[in-house]
Symmetry: C2
């Protein structure tokens, strides 16, 4: 018998971690609901054809495939062998694997919308909080099973959706007490920049170089742009673009001066202006928006607004991101469904909250009261009192057997239980009990009838 172990890159979550993670999940879920988003859950397994070819060649390799069942069925063996031979030749084959584990929440969402679009109410606002699986090489902070936490609106081009999603980010992080900057840009502005400097075919080169600004600095970015075939004039224009600074209003003016003479540039600036103005007019605490024209969000399917969230006071990559896209479900035969969505990086949010010690104390408390077990008659009375506390919603336990004080105290301590109720023969006789605060060490003797009025 070998020692049991976990698959590489996967984790068990014990009570404390589950409670803290649920605090994050529940905060995010409740804000999604506050903004009218509805929950969706899709199965862990999808058909291979739903997933393959959607994440690029590298992505395809990282999808966990499920071996068809019944490979031990002699009838199927030969078919399966043929399928395996196809895999040997570098081709996928459904004879050996028809299903795979979900790689993200977007494709299953698109598949769901495509399958059910006749029944859905548009704009369709859904949120989804479920694990995904990727055969990435495990490393610090990267797991093979991890949760994604997405909200999307599809079937609407209205920029009010962008305003709403900005507010969702702001509300969630304010509820979690994490100070953040909400970085906004618009893909149309980047496209306009490419138009202005070097032509639209240079968009990818420009985006890749810009994306590195944080890491390598402006001089190296310039070098790279030259290497990628841009002229010095063009590089200087891009440098001016990257140099945009000041308040959001000032930034919009500067970017408008650089790219506002193109159709894309004008529209991109207009859209950002709408979002910024709409939010500035709303009551209450203002979201901390930063118009960040260096923001690119990789080379994916975004076509309008893009988002990225940076936590302040802590060294950490982005803890959220998203953007607008023109077509969610075209790949599944349902065209013309534009939308916009955001995502929360729960593992990183967890790390930020641990580092800044932001988890509230009460999240970490399971059982609130331990009743000591000091004999048969005593424990029966304790049990009776416990049932009364429970019916008032207090989380209680009775120690499972009569044993030394010491052992019962240790149990309470290890389980982080804040109160003990001690009921020995004297207390039984006098119809009292001792309530001990295990954090402060204070204790008082009260009448058993007073217990329900006690604060825990």
């Amino acid at each position: 018998m070998s020692k049991p172990s976990l698959p590489q890159g996967t984790r068990d979550f014990g009570a404390t971690v589950v409670r803290k993670r649920n605090f994050i999940f529940n905060t995010i879920r409740s804000v999604f609901e506050l903004y009218g988003f509805q929950p969706l859950e899709t199965p862990a397994m999808e058909n291979m054809e739903t997933l393959m070819g959607k994440y690029g060649e590298e992505g395809d390799k990282l999808i966990f495939k499920i071996l068809n069942n019944g490979l031990d069925n002699q009838d199927k063996l030969e078919k399966t062998k043929a399928g395996f031979d196809k895999i040997m030749e570098g081709k996928n084959s459904t004879a050996i694997t028809e299903k795979a584990l979900r790689y993200d929440l977007t494709i299953p969402f698109a598949r769901y919308v495509a399958m059910n679009h006749g029944q859905l109410t548009f704009p369709f606002k859904r949120y989804q909080v479920q694990p995904v699986w990727r055969a990435d090489r495990p490393q610090r902070g990267r797991y093979r099973e991890f949760y994604q936490c997405d909200a999307d609106v599809v079937g609407s081009k209205s920029l009010i959706n962008e305003v709403e999603l900005t507010n969702i980010y702001s509300t969630v992080f304010s509820k979690l007490n994490i100070p953040v900057e909400i970085h906004l840009n618009n893909r149309k502005v980047l496209a306009a920049l490419a138009e202005v400097c070097g032509g639209t075919d240079k968009l990818v080169d420009i985006t890749i170089a810009i994306d590195k600004l944080d890491k390598i600095g402006i001089d190296k970015v310039k070098e790279e742009l030259i290497q990628r075939g841009l002229t010095e004039t063009q590089v200087n224009q891009i440098a001016a673009y990257l140099n945009i600074s000041g308040s959001n209003t000032e930034r919009l003016q500067q970017v408008n001066a650089l790219v506002g003479n193109t159709e894309n540039g004008r529209k991109g600036v207009e859209e950002l202006q709408f979002i910024v103005d709409y939010i500035a007019a709303q009551p209450g605490v203002q979201p901390n928006i930063v118009l960040d024209f260096t923001l690119a969000r990789g080379l994916n399917y975004y076509t309008g607004t893009i988002y990225e969230i940076k936590a302040l006071n802590v060294q950490m990559g982005s803890i959220g991101g998203g953007g607008r896209y023109d077509d969610l479900t075209g790949l599944f035969g349902v065209p013309n469904l534009p939308g916009v969505g955001i995502s929360f990086g729960v593992d990183r949010i967890y790390d930020v909250m641990e580092e800044l010690q932001l988890f509230p104390e009460e999240v970490q408390t399971g059982t609130q009261v331990l009743f000591f077990n000091l004999g048969e008659a005593e424990s029966k009375k304790a049990f009776e009192l416990m049932q009364q506390l429970r019916s008032n919603g207090i989380r209680c336990e009775l120690f499972h057997e009569q044993t030394k004080f010491d052992k019962q105290f240790k149990y309470a301590e290890k389980k982080n239980i804040p109160y003990a109720i001690i009921l020995g023969s004297t207390e039984l006789q006098q119809q009292t009990c001792v309530v001990r605060n295990l954090v402060s060490g204070e204790q008082t003797t009260i009448q058993q009838t007073e217990l329900l009025q006690q604060q825990f």
Copy 2:
């Protein structure tokens, strides 16, 4: 492009269903917490050696195995081919699959306890609510992905645990408003019956026949027992056992008369007596316990108390079950950890609640208020009011674009939104808004400043 579809036996859960399911899950979780149980989450994937051989030969076949990644890596292909050849010969091979999807929550729990027993506090009380996957042939009410919902205490022989678990069942179903009978038996009583009638080697035969009583009736059970080699005298003793009836106290007396003269019988009756007495002494509503000596719970690893839950007023198999076992982690090299656990059948509980119409109305409400969009200035004011309501916790939406009344009403209706707030040019001017109850059709015009006092 083929029409997208779901893998056989899997389901998407839309908003209404997710909300109802969460109502069940949250009720169960909160009661588990009330009783001092702590959450645990384990990964979807386990190593093959953790799962294989734990569920019998049939079980092994129903485990979903995950194809190793990198089968397209030429270096690995030959190894993989060798592994596939082993599968062709009917042997499992880790060269092709090292990981598999969890088949239940008990084995991952045992694996977790075995890996971490040095750090855990015993008795260890954990609950776990996660999906499991089985390659069963899909049919009505049987899925390939479904949730299990378990609570176990390990490291304690105390029968107080049995009392607690009985109360958990009773509390959960009372909170869900499902009338149930909690059927209790004890494996030691069944063992004693076998001892008394035909010897311990007949335990399996007797159990299998008894298990069918509900379906085939007493006469057919007798026939089967004869076929299985029991004498008429023995069969008559078993028939007397199956005929036990009356109050729980009367039943205990009758069973004691039949099997109480064996060590097993005496202990089994004593244990049941303890549970029944302990519960009878507790305050509040009494759990509806039925001592059911025909209850067997298949041929699994239970050794003491066994539970099964029957919903009343509805035709449905058991909606929960569990029992005591002597050894959770022996298979993983950590012996002597006895425990007791229960499980809730969430899919069936859902069906019962649908049939008896037990889901509370409010569970089915997502967005509470829809603000109509009747123009640019109007919608900006509506947006402002909406943000105020949201900061009071009211779930709201603003319709995403200015359009006909009709369309906005239809959106509210389809999303089951109970209130609309209508703010046109008149209301904008007069600083009022119209609050319309979309269920009753009633509407009132109020000052915008009064909106926060409104009940939704």
